[in-house]
Symmetry: C2
Subunit: 156 residues, 2 copies
């Protein structure tokens, strides 16, 4: 993991998701990313506990703004265990979003660094993510390279 001092500064704190973060705007933030309907407290807590059971294999990172106590950026990474690459592991980054009012503070980079460093510390040989073509340059600045194409099938 990153050293504590690189995760924190005067303005904000980068840390793992906590069960109280639903009251700090976490769901509203995700709504800026995609469809994210209202989630009841129970639904949130149930999902939080399910993910907690996965321990370090599924980590959600958030940035909390010190002044307001609001969650202003988030992203997740989960660790896939494979047989290839000598039973290697791969980190999958998902659901990265920065609050529209908090752009320009390098929070996206902070999230990606936190998640990437977690994957590395878990022994992954690579970390991957899917993004729109317009976000490619941002991820290139984070040290990623374009590789394949993503295919999707939605269920009715």
């Amino acid at each position: 993991m990153l050293a504590d001092d690189s995760n924190n500064d005067e303005k904000c704190r980068t840390r793992r998701l906590e069960i109280t973060d639903k009251n700090k705007g976490f769901i509203e933030l995700l709504r800026q990313l995609t469809v994210c309907d209202s989630v009841s407290d129970k639904e949130f807590e149930d999902r939080f506990r399910e993910l907690a059971c996965e321990g370090d294999d599924h980590v959600i990172c958030v940035v909390e703004e010190n002044e307001t106590g609001k969650i202003i950026a988030t992203g997740s990474v989960f660790i896939e265990k494979k047989f290839i690459r000598k039973c290697g592991k791969v980190g999958h980054i998902e659901d990265v979003v920065v609050d529209a009012n908090a752009r320009g503070m390098q929070l996206g980079k902070k999230i990606i660094e936190f998640l990437t460093e977690h994957a590395r510390s878990m022994g992954c040989y690579k970390v991957i993510l899917d993004c729109s073509a317009e976000n490619r340059v941002f991820y290139e600045k984070c040290g990623f390279k374009e590789k394949e194409i993503q295919m999707v099938k939605y269920f009715p």
Copy 2:
């Protein structure tokens, strides 16, 4: 899951990976996909048991040829739990490969159907995968559509 009769015919049987499949050419098959160094029996069994702990959240599908008892196709799917989409779930398909000597038997399609159906049965709202541009047409025939681009960062 698919009905049993659609998973089996005179020539081969589609089923989940079993711990004895290391002796049926499973690792050699993966080697046709990418770097897959030798894996000791213990390494294989340890990884097999780790994945077994994930239960239906991580399934590896294989096609066994009846005549030879060899594994001639494989693919995996794991279920990611999210907060978006009303605490929705997404299936991630990985490591799909068909033995070079068994092409033209629609085994790739059989594997994708098995994994896709598993994701659907687990309540996923979509299933995704990354592939090379040259495999796009195959996945389109399986009902997938191109969506985003995959970015990767390898660790030294």
